[in-house]
């Protein structure tokens, strides 16, 4: 997995709460058996005026000029500023894949849906929870100032504005450790293979009905 330590980038503010994963990447694009290539269809229904289909050249499609990511000033944004309950709904990991493929590295919101939050970490994407009033402030600043950038330091757990104001955020130690070092979760878990086997052996004794399929 790609490591994440620090990142500075342009901020795109998406002023809408309860953004669900169907909205982030609509179902017709979930038919791919790959992990990449979802970027052009990120927020497809909001971003384009026509109906998106898999395998179509999105550069030829009519853009919705009102959608924030289509505005010239937000081109190249890598930090998404969002509202509460971001990523709710379906567990599709295609949502963080699409955000990542588009170029986002950080998402800041007052709250995230659990599964989405977790999926981000597996893909080198950092979701940051900040208090609602701080997020409000960042929205105001990002909308007021063209080219507004934030810098994020995962080691120090801080988000810093262009004026030097710094906010700290919380992230649990295991996720932070894996992300900072780009660790493969599975490899880390397999270091405990003996423990897993011991647990399994004990369960075979105490709860034998959990083993061996019926058919």
């Amino acid at each position: 997995m790609r490591a994440f330590t620090q990142h500075q980038g342009l901020v795109a503010p998406m002023d809408r709460s309860n953004v669900d994963t169907d909205m982030i990447i609509p179902k017709q694009f979930l038919k791919s058996i790959k992990r990449t290539g979802f970027g052009p269809n990120l927020f497809d229904e909001l971003r384009y005026l026509d109906e998106g289909k898999p395998d179509q050249d999105s550069s030829q499609r009519p853009l919705n000029p009102d959608f924030v990511l289509n505005q010239p000033r937000y081109q190249g944004a890598s930090i998404l500023l969002a509202r509460s309950n971001f990523g709710c709904g379906s567990s599709r990991e295609h949502a963080p894949w699409a955000l990542d493929d588009y170029g986002f590295r950080v998402i800041i919101a007052p709250s995230f849906a659990d599964i989405f939050y977790n999926n981000c970490f597996k893909n080198g994407l950092l979701p940051i929870v900040l208090e609602e009033k701080i997020v409000d402030q960042l929205f105001r600043e990002a909308e007021a100032e063209e080219g507004y950038q934030l810098s994020v330091d995962l080691d120090a757990k801080t988000v810093t504005t262009p004026s030097g104001e710094s906010f700290s955020f919380d992230v649990d130690d295991f996720r932070r450790h894996c992300l900072l070092n780009g660790l493969d979760d599975i490899g880390v878990t397999l270091e405990d293979a003996e423990l897993i086997k011991a647990y399994e052996d004990q369960r075979r004794q105490t709860a034998p009905w959990l083993f061996g399929a019926g058919q």
């Binding site: 169907d22 709250s111 599964i115």
Partner: protein, 478 residues
């Protein structure tokens, strides 16, 4: 010391290792797979040269992409080549690794959350995961069950464990008796309407109280299914006689002495009387009316006797904007009566409401009646091949067809419209599924979430109608 909640018990029984950083390794007893969220996980496994840890813990079936007609053609019946590749890929992956799969022509095929319980592959006290957020459904059996992303699918395949943080405990208690015509679906919609789509975020919800205890397993599954729409990855109901009766005799269920030992353990799967919950929310079951969602989030619901809200009356500016945006998308006016919403299509199906009892409830309403002429389509999609078979044995298919509803083959179908079944732009659909997000059932489609009985009543009337009037025409007013 305070007693344990059901969630605490399930957690403790599956804890392989508590790490110093607060995370824990949790053992997974059952892993369900479907075609959409698994291909990248199998690919990852292959790339890393890993093998599944425990083959017999896995069970797979294609459901999201399968067509609901022409099933005798098997995979060749899937017209969309991309969908076909996905279903084929699942088949190849399962064959390669020796994982049991109910393939498209197997009568045990169906929606993954329907077939697990139906086969007894879902047993009380298990940890169950699947790359699908509605895995919470299985919590109805006193399981710790939740959806995971594709990276975690790979993680479970490779290690039979997940790295988890313990959630907080929430009890949602529904007291008293439900009124006539009020189902598990209405209960869960009313709960989401009250606590909101983020109300359960970070919590494992246990549903309890007299009204829940009186529900059948189907009703409990409907409620746990939509825990995720309340923001909670996990929904659960304690094990009782209803649970054990349902499991008994199913193909994967234990038999003989093992069964007796299992039952003894299962009987302990409830929260202790003195267990402490971090949050408790109570409802009076007798006050819950049939529900209809009017907006683009499952918390946007109203009683059938109610009306669409007026954004002008909402003080919170973000909420007001949310309502305005939803009304615009849904093509509804503030204060419009719910019964004035006209429908284009009706969909009875999905992992929320496609089990035999759901179909019986719908059939009871349409029996001897006709679907309104104004509807373009009304369809019933059973949750599995076995549900279909059972329904046909009971003659439900004929009731539906005679009333003018289409009787289809099992799959997710119009719940998310990954196959050919979808809404046209601007069309209103009464749907027994679980998500009314923009575009969920087709680009520009407008979804209203309801119970099977309410969907059936709407099919007959062509607009929403209080199902209690149809169940009881003598006392109902029109």
């Amino acid at each position: 010391m305070a007693g344990k909640t059901l969630y605490d018990k399930l957690w403790d029984d599956h804890l392989v290792k508590q790490r110093d950083d607060g995370s824990a390794l949790i053992y997974i007893d059952r892993h369900l797979l479907h075609e959409v969220t698994s291909p990248q996980a199998f690919e990852g496994l292959r790339l890393a040269g890993r093998k599944p840890w425990r083959i017999d813990a896995n069970l797979a079936t294609p459901d999201h992409n399968v067509p609901t007609t022409d099933r005798d053609k098997g995979i060749d019946g899937i017209v969309d080549p991309v969908s076909r590749t996905q279903v084929e890929t699942l088949g190849k992956n399962c064959d390669e690794f020796g994982i049991l799969e109910f393939k498209i022509k197997d009568k045990r095929q169906g929606i993954v959350h329907v077939i697990g319980p139906e086969q007894g592959a879902t047993l009380p006290g298990m940890t169950i995961v699947c790359g699908d957020s509605h895995t919470s459904t299985h919590g109805a059996f006193g399981c710790l069950a939740h959806g995971i992303g594709t990276s975690e699918v790979e993680h479970v395949l490779a290690t039979q464990c997940l790295v988890q943080q313990k959630m907080k405990n929430m009890l949602v208690k529904v007291n008293g008796q439900l009124g006539e015509g009020v189902t598990g679906k209405d209960v869960v919609l009313a709960i989401i309407g009250k606590i909101g789509t983020a109300g359960g975020t970070g919590y494992a919800i246990e549903f309890g109280g007299e009204a829940i205890q009186n529900l059948s397993m189907e009703g409990r599954m409907t409620i746990c299914n939509m825990a995720i729409e309340a923001g909670a990855r996990v929904g659960m109901v304690a094990v009782d006689g209803t649970t054990i009766d349902y499991v008994k005799g199913r193909p994967f269920a234990p038999k003989g002495e093992t069964w007796d030992a299992a039952v003894k353990y299962w009987r302990t799967l409830h929260s202790d009387l003195d267990a402490q919950f971090d949050k408790v929310v109570e409802f009076d079951g007798s006050e819950i009316l049939p529900q209809v969602s009017w907006g683009t989030s499952p918390e946007m619901v109203a009683d059938i006797t109610g009306a669409v809200p007026d954004p002008a009356k909402e003080e919170d500016p973000i909420k007001r904007e949310g309502i305005e945006r939803a009304l615009k998308y849904m093509g509804l006016k503030p204060n419009q009566a719910i019964t004035d919403i006209k429908l284009d299509r009706v969909f009875i199906g999905s992992c929320t409401n496609s089990r035999i009892e759901d179909l019986r409830e719908a059939a009871a309403v349409v029996k001897g009646r006709k679907v309104a002429d104004s509807l373009k389509q009304a369809m019933v999609v059973p949750g599995s091949g076995l549900v279909k078979e059972q329904a046909e044995a009971e003659g439900l298919d004929r009731i539906f067809v005679e009333a003018g509803l289409e009787w289809r083959d099992p799959g997710c179908s119009m719940c998310l419209a990954m196959n050919a079944d979808k809404l046209g732009q601007g069309e209103h659909c009464a749907s027994t599924s679980n998500r009314n997000f923009e575009g969920r059932q087709g680009f520009g489609g407008r979804t209203h979430l309801v119970s099977p009985a309410m969907a059936a009543a709407a099919a007959v009337a062509g607009h929403f109608v209080d199902v209690r009037e149809l169940l009881n025409p003598a006392t109902g007013e029109n």
